[in-house]
Symmetry: C2
Subunit: 285 residues, 2 copies
């Protein structure tokens, strides 16, 4: 398998990056995971806009044009013979020979690299009958509106769920009113109550590309969507619920801990179909 | 310069690690920074005990004995001709060819690497007349009792201070009573009020090796030390204050934002001297 680093194709099973890269020593970087279908990359513009916005926030230069990078991404996918798959993109503040918190001198080249993978195997039963979630405390930092590589708390949350047979963690924070839901280790959440969609507002959670696509479609289809702080007891009492992510797409939720939901519910089913249609449109662009 | 990775010495300016290492993609790892003096490493046992404890917490195997690793560390320092310097040690969950949150199969080799640096240059005026701090919100996750590489919030805090001429950030969280201090981007804090030392308890902050050494010495010298939640207004109203870290050792604080302190104050001066003596004892072991 090949990887791509700052304009060069390298063997993925060989060292490809310096030990003093700030991505490795400070998690000083950002990433995106994009879905590839039939050798095309889905929602490229949306993912690139998001990482560029966060790179500006962190003061990291983005060293390629979208167009040039898209060509390199397609070549990487072609070389790895990946048709249906995932494209991983990471941007770091670059190699820093001092390993000090202080930003390296201007002129330091950021590191941009891409990996491509065959699509991970997900049991179809998760879409057909719904996924199981386990609640877990949201241990993360306050930079979650940016897709940073500071993911250890996400790793712990998801593995907590995996070890108990679940598909994802449903992370929760606390306020004076009680426990409210934020997101999963790599998913956003929605529930449907009385025909309205409810989803956590972007308050230290990831503004997901699939999340945005679902909200946009729902509103155009006349479904009311409310983005606000969403308490765990409201979520557990919903008529139906689903999660969204680039890889999981729209996936019904069958259970959260010991609470079960009809899965897929009728609204979820509509949105699953609509999202497949959105992918078809994206592929035809 | 040489680096050391999983038993091999490699050139530091060359790629030394795979792009799919979980340290780089998930910040799924831990680190230590140790002070080297005259080709010896200070407080080796204490640092190794800390990283081993956190590795157990994360379920990452530690792949070398302390004794074998110490020999490799000394050889690395020797090869790089570093006498006074810093030894950086990082442990990650290893290369993971899938880039998925799920822990890789058992048998995956963790990555352990070391870098050695000449001692960073710190203006002596910081010890002679005290360092300046700037307050900054503590944006970090809830895993700060472990020395994880999820450091982006620390990077932002310290650079906020640097850009304003400061030496460190004084990070604060909020509770119902107000703003309380936690730690710096890479330091612990103490203040002295009425002859008593006050320092934040280990409540999602780093249990610093220098911090522990100072507390231990102070207690043996008959100084009362109180570890508890410490509010910013208490800290700002203290008689004197100082910070501790492996590299900064015991450093007086001259100012926090617009509040100034006598620096070094008499208790700080005693503890600075005592810590130098502790280093001498450590070197003589």
């Amino acid at each position: 398998m090949w990887a791509w680093v700052n304009g060069e194709f390298v063997r993925r099973d060989q060292p490809g990056i310096r030990l003093e890269d700030r991505g490795l020593t400070f998690a000083d970087g950002l990433f995106e995971v994009l879905r590839t279908v039939g050798g095309k990359v889905l929602f490229w513009d949306e993912h690139l806009a998001r990482i560029r916005r966060s790179a500006r926030f962190l003061g990291i230069a983005f060293p390629f044009t979208d167009q040039k990078l898209a060509a390199e991404a397609l070549e990487l996918i072609r070389r790895n013979d990946v048709t249906d798959g995932e494209l991983y993109l990471e941007l770091t503040r670059g190699a820093d020979p001092y390993r000090q918190h202080k930003y390296p001198p201007s002129g330091t080249e950021p590191t941009l690299f891409m990996l491509s993978f065959p699509l991970r195997t997900i049991d179809a039963v998760n879409w057909e009958r719904g996924a199981t979630l386990l609640t877990y405390p949201d241990l993360r930092h306050r930079l979650c509106e940016h897709k940073t590589i500071n993911l250890l708390a996400n790793v712990l949350a998801k593995n907590y769920a995996y070890e108990r047979g679940g598909y994802e963690a449903l992370m929760c924070r606390e306020d004076a009113r009680g426990s409210y839901i934020t997101e999963g280790g790599s998913s956003n959440y929605f529930c449907c109550r009385g025909g309205r969609l409810l989803t956590p507002e972007i308050d230290n959670i990831m503004p997901g590309i699939t999340r945005a696509g679902v909200i946009d479609h729902a509103r155009r289809a006349g479904i009311e969507v409310v983005e606000r702080r969403l308490y765990l007891n409201e979520f557990l009492g919903a008529d139906e619920a689903f999660l969204t992510s680039t890889v999981s797409k729209v996936m019904p939720i069958r259970a959260v801990d010991y609470t079960t939901f009809p899965a897929p519910g009728p609204v979820t089913r509509r949105l699953m179909d609509a999202f497949e249609e959105l992918i078809h449109q994206e592929l035809a662009r």
